[in-house]
Symmetry: C2
Subunit: 380 residues, 2 copies
Amino acid sequence: MQDSSSIGIVTPQVAHFSTPLKLKSGAVIESYDLVYETYGTLNADKSNAILICHALSGNHHVAGYYTEHDKAPGWWDNMIGPGKPIDTDQFFVIGVNNLGGCHGSTGPASINPKTGKPFGASFPVVTVEDWVNSHALLADQLGIFQFAAVVGGSLGGMQALQWTLAFPDRVSNALVIAAAPNLTAQNIAFNDVARQAILTDPDFHGGDFYAHDVKPKRGLRLARMLGHITYLSGDVMGTKFGRLLRSGIFNYGFDVEFEIESYLRYQGDKFAGTFDANTYLLMTKALDYFDPTHHHQNGSLSDALKPATANFLVVSFTTDWRFAPERSREIVQALLDNERNVSYAEITSSHGHDAFLIVDPYYHDLVHAYMNNISLGAAK
Amino acid sequence: MQDSSSIGIVTPQVAHFSTPLKLKSGAVIESYDLVYETYGTLNADKSNAILICHALSGNHHVAGYYTEHDKAPGWWDNMIGPGKPIDTDQFFVIGVNNLGGCHGSTGPASINPKTGKPFGASFPVVTVEDWVNSHALLADQLGIFQFAAVVGGSLGGMQALQWTLAFPDRVSNALVIAAAPNLTAQNIAFNDVARQAILTDPDFHGGDFYAHDVKPKRGLRLARMLGHITYLSGDVMGTKFGRLLRSGIFNYGFDVEFEIESYLRYQGDKFAGTFDANTYLLMTKALDYFDPTHHHQNGSLSDALKPATANFLVVSFTTDWRFAPERSREIVQALLDNERNVSYAEITSSHGHDAFLIVDPYYHDLVHAYMNNISLGAAK
């Protein structure tokens, strides 16, 4: 723990749910756990709660450290903490690991109580809608009716948006960052290559690799390498790596030649050693399926977002080609069509999709100002 | 054979080379074959020869049909034939399969005369420079000193560019289409994911899969799926596939849900059944290594292109994000810095990188006009 501005030592908690949860697919999860963390103090009228929704590889460990010796804090520690844009001196912040995850909430690697074995391939497909429903049940358990804000980037932004549609009276503000109303064909295509890498890895064993004491690391490694390309902008890759050679000369072989290869393989190996392949599959599927316009005539996003009554802050980043600014502008336009209260910022950044996780003074000041405004509103 | 405007039935020929070829890597190929096709008639002073250089998955079968019953012609039949932009009534056109290929020229699947077994992993890394050198030797065999034009798209465009650097007096015109002076970090990154998919496929057997009577189809399939995403623009994927579902409804499983998945998997399967995985690796490596600026101070492309004396037609396509128009403009600027004769066109197209293979009236008229100008020049 090296950052004195951090919230400090945090401890995850587990909420158990024994009422069966019916999923969008029709499948039912009989009982499940959600692991979560909280930072700050819930005020007396329980009006200062903030829910942080995580993206593909994220989890409930949003801020702070688990021990004094932890090298890295939670994944959004630069955004959340005392005096930070989402200020834990003002707000009670909740991070939760999504159902289907691999960091403590019930997921494919969890033991199925019916069989005494890991769920594996039998774990059902979960959707953004299912996550939001389950997070609402967690809020019930915590006695929180309305969130001051639901906040998320990327797939997390989709969850924030879905909150405003499923539970309009339970969310005052939605911060939808580096997100999109649904995936494009190109987005789905990248996801499918990643999935096929995992599904066709001989160590995947149809999703039941746990019983074989192996992991489909080859596939998961490729999926992560590919993902990383889409998280970064071409510009930042060029600036950071360019055509830089590992050994300064061409070796005319298949070992690492260029630094970018070294970086990607390292990221892939690291991820494949720790993340669950079934969870990765589920997360990409949730991305693919999310589409509020799906049952609306002509796929009208304006019609789809009619139920949302929250105030919105929508943020995009200029070099994000995974969820490009024009996708955020679609959300903004649809909200304006419904005369909703929406602020929009397109942040100039070279960092691509990853920009939402990176410190940028303008971006952080913006979120800080928006959040301050919420707290003033709540104080009225 | 359905297209009466085609050159018609064509027959490949084989040129054998028994003088060892020293490669850029330092390795030597003792003897080798190059398979090629020719269309049209070489004129008396041998001044009307055109060399077509192929890209990653291309080959020598550029135009025409092999039999009356062939369903598809050569890969650039829309560009090359009687009355077409590269007019076989005027020009003698040569298509050649690159060394390391898998369509007849000596490559990893060929039998190594020293061992009586396929080269496999022992086949050396070949570069754009090596290809151009070997094509010059083919030109020698055919008695052609100077090409009226060397033409190529993508990796083929890099070969056309290299011709003007290695043999400035042997090429009058270079048509460098949808190409780049070198790969970006992002380009290399995509190539490396594709290579890792192949290299880590358990059926790859270190490149010597031929002896095991298997093919690393899983890896090659992933490589091709990924490649296809980068050949198409996001726009054309959106228009052609969008979020179209295969069965009209969500099935919440890992079979094909979206049409884009069906398309990609089909393309991947088709390719993996026919193409050689080692050749794929070599082609991506040739792309990575090509960089005329490599040994020039400050990586100056202007300095690097000084030796080129040919006239140039450089063409790019607006939605090509694999080799974006700005990469073509770098080539143009470097040629202008050297006061070379260069025409540049940036074609408005929705088809991404693949646009160079697709009929577009403006693009084809442009190439036709440029080529007509060459033939007039030759007639002087």
